[in-house]
């Protein structure tokens, strides 16, 4: 059992560290983890799921705004991007946030193709992050189920 726990824990450490290294996550995510305690054991998972919900909604808004047959209202797109930037930076979704910054610039430049490209990338990016985090949470669950404690990984 201990061996299993140890193994899982090592797996977990490596996996999480790689997420930081690959730029999926940043310090803010670490901060979020610090806020998780016995009183709110699923805090991080809850916040992240809220975040992904927001992603879906905002990306939908952006898509709709860009899909206008007439003139595209870039400020509208920009508003959604701005909001996504805020929430992604708050959860530590580094790549998503980076894309938002670029996206915003395209909006301000009224660059339609640039915007569309960013939108596609953001869509891919948040989904990828979602999958990775789900894997990470699963590992956490397994560790706990195996009787172990989830190790602290601060990148």
């Amino acid at each position: 059992m201990d061996a299993l726990v140890a193994q899982l824990q090592m797996q977990y450490r490596n996996y999480t560290a790689s997420l930081y290294q690959q730029g999926f996550l940043d310090d803010q995510f670490t901060e979020l983890k610090k806020l998780q305690d016995d009183a709110s054991p699923d805090f991080v998972a809850e916040v992240l799921s809220l975040f992904f919900e927001d992603c879906v909604k905002l990306i939908g808004n952006m898509a709709r705004a860009l899909d206008q047959t007439g003139t595209v209202d870039f400020s509208q797109v920009g508003a959604s991007v701005h909001q996504l930037k805020g929430s992604s930076s708050s959860v530590g979704a580094k790549r998503v946030k980076g894309l938002c910054v670029t996206f915003k610039e395209y909006c301000e430049a009224n660059n339609y193709e640039g915007c569309v490209r960013c939108l596609q990338q953001i869509d891919i990016e948040y989904k990828a992050l979602k999958t990775k985090l789900q894997d990470m949470f699963n590992l956490e669950k397994q560790i706990v189920q195996a009787g172990g404690k989830v190790p602290q990984v601060d990148n």
Binding site: E53, Q76, H82, S90, V91
Partner: protein, 516 residues
């Protein structure tokens, strides 16, 4: 409370500090809430600015501090900062993903105590309580009641010095000063006398309504010991009042006929007898004597303000969009019928009926003619202000909440999530019916009035017109040729008013409201 007790309380203080957090982004809101809990504050959250305002208005003492996001669909965060500062005078911290200094500057200009950039860290939140302390000290300093405009500056100065001393030595300095300030704490702040207000109006007129920022106004006013904050809050109150009253005027347009009826029913003679509402009569600069004659003005004012009938023009309403003083009495009188106010008035010189066309009749005693000018000015401003403020209605909270919640839960990207702009549209005043429905709700009006407008605001605004002082608009005459003179007894004026009342047509301008 002695100073020592103050300090003790402060030791405990940051714990349990009541914070209201507003952010339309649920992710950020959740994180913020947790961070604040971690700091051991007491947290209330909402994702709508409207809801936040309602919560704040419900009970002014319910919160110590407000943290608000800048970009929100139902209301601009800066606007919220202004309103909270105006109405409740609570410290507001802005929160935004914009790190651009110009936003920070904007936040400061609108009165924010601090500006945090997302993502917020817990270290930043651990010290926000300082703003609450600072604000309450500042309040003490400002709460000086004076009878003359000039001395208020000095009092402020003394107050400032006293506070600093106390702060430095952490001892009870002057018992008297302490008590005085504590006593004043409950009262209003800087008293805007006629003179002061005139200067204010002059400055605003000079820069133009759109450019009216506290700093410029302060410079133009060139009054010693007046702070930018004083001017800022005064300006905001002014604007708010304009907007409010204009909104209500629009909505109450159809109350016109109702009031006409009521007036005639009252048979109180001419309901055109309106005296300029002596807002905060107790503070009426140099007009105390006059005011006493009409103690019921408050009721009347209250009655009128909320029941302002139609102003055929646009928002020429009682005080042209100025908030009326004893707002508490507003709805009470207004809601049911004006009857309540009438009996008390009959004992007065004339009958104060709400006229479909509000007119200000200069009272003469105080030389109210300047009020005409003020009101004209307000009228202009209110339309200007309104046009800028329309998208941000305070009245439509419910429909928005429902819609917002709806798609908050949806995971389908195709869900027709309302765009932010459409939200604004919903709250637009473009739907006068809805607006009217809301505004006619006595309770709602009551809430708006009670909490938004401070009793002294309008009084101060009104009082600012002194003698024959001219405002930028220049002398304006009443339609009925009623030029206020500084002399003449009240009786004379009232009598002459009575004769004039017969011609209702003259009141069609709706510039002035007579409150008898």
């Amino acid at each position: 409370m002695t100073v020592e007790q103050d300090i003790d309380a402060m030791d405990q203080f940051p714990l349990g500090m009541r914070v209201l957090a507003v952010d339309d982004d649920q992710t950020c809101l959740r994180i913020l809430e947790t961070l604040l809990h971690r700091c051991q504050y007491h947290v209330t959250t909402t994702d709508k600015a409207q809801t936040a305002l309602e919560l704040l208005r419900e009970n002014k003492n319910k919160f110590d501090l407000v943290i608000s996001d800048v970009d929100m669909p139902d209301m601009d965060g800066f606007k919220l900062v202004e309103l909270v500062g105006l109405e409740m005078d609570l410290p507001v911290i802005m929160l935004s993903a914009h790190s651009d200094p110009k936003y920070v500057m904007k936040g400061v200009k609108h009165g924010a105590c601090d500006y945090l950039v997302k993502p917020v860290r817990i270290e930043e939140l651990k010290n926000i309580w300082q703003h609450v302390v600072r604000k309450s000290k500042f309040k003490k300093m400002k709460s000086v009641v004076t009878t003359s405009g000039e001395s208020e500056g000095n009092s402020d100065q003394n107050g400032v010095r006293a506070n600093r001393k106390r702060k430095d030595q952490l001892e009870e300095e002057d018992e008297e000063q302490d008590e005085q300030e504590r006593g004043n704490e409950k009262k209003a702040r800087v008293i805007w006398t006629r003179e002061l207000h005139n200067k204010f109006l002059a400055a605003v007129d000079h820069v133009g309504v759109k450019n009216a920022v506290p700093k410029k106004i302060l410079e133009l006013m060139n009054v010693d010991n007046l702070t930018r904050e004083n001017v800022g809050s005064h300006l905001q109150k002014f604007r708010l009042a304009l907007k409010k009253i204009n909104n209500e005027a629009n909505q109450q347009a159809n109350m016109d006929s109702h009031f006409k009826q009521m007036s005639s029913l009252k048979g109180l003679g001419s309901f055109h007898h309106y005296r300029p509402i002596p807002l905060g009569s107790s503070q009426f600069h140099g007009g105390a004597a006059t005011m006493r004659h009409y103690p019921s003005n408050r009721t009347l004012a209250g009655m009128f303000s909320s029941s302002l009938p139609c102003n055929h023009n646009d928002g020429g309403y009682m005080l042209q969009g100025m908030p009326l003083p004893p707002l508490e009495t507003l709805h009470i009188a207004n809601n049911n019928n004006n009857n309540k106010a009438f009996p008390s008035f009959t004992s007065q010189q004339s009958s104060p009926l709400v006229s479909p066309n509000n007119h200000f009749v200069p009272e003469g005693h105080q030389g109210f003619s300047p009020r005409l000018e003020i009101n004209k000015r307000l009228e202009d401003w209110s339309s200007a202000v309104l046009s800028n403020n329309i998208p941000q209605s305070n009245l439509h909270s419910k429909p928005d909440a429902l819609e917002w919640n709806m798609f908050g839960n949806s995971t389908s990207p195709n869900l027709d999530t309302t765009n932010q702009t459409s939200f604004c549209r919903d709250t637009d005043f473009g739907s006068p019916n809805a607006a009217q429905a809301d505004s006619f709700d006595p309770l709602q009006m009551k809430q708006q009035h009670e909490n938004i407008l401070s009793p002294m605001t309008v009084a101060q605004l009104l009082r600012s017109s002194s003698g024959n002082e001219r405002l930028f608009m220049g002398q304006q005459k009443l339609e009925n040729g009623f030029m206020a003179s500084d002399t003449g007894s009240l009786d004379d004026i009232v009598n002459s008013m009575m004769t004039q009342e017969q011609s209702q047509a003259e009141f069609s301008e709706g510039d002035w409201v007579w409150v008898a």
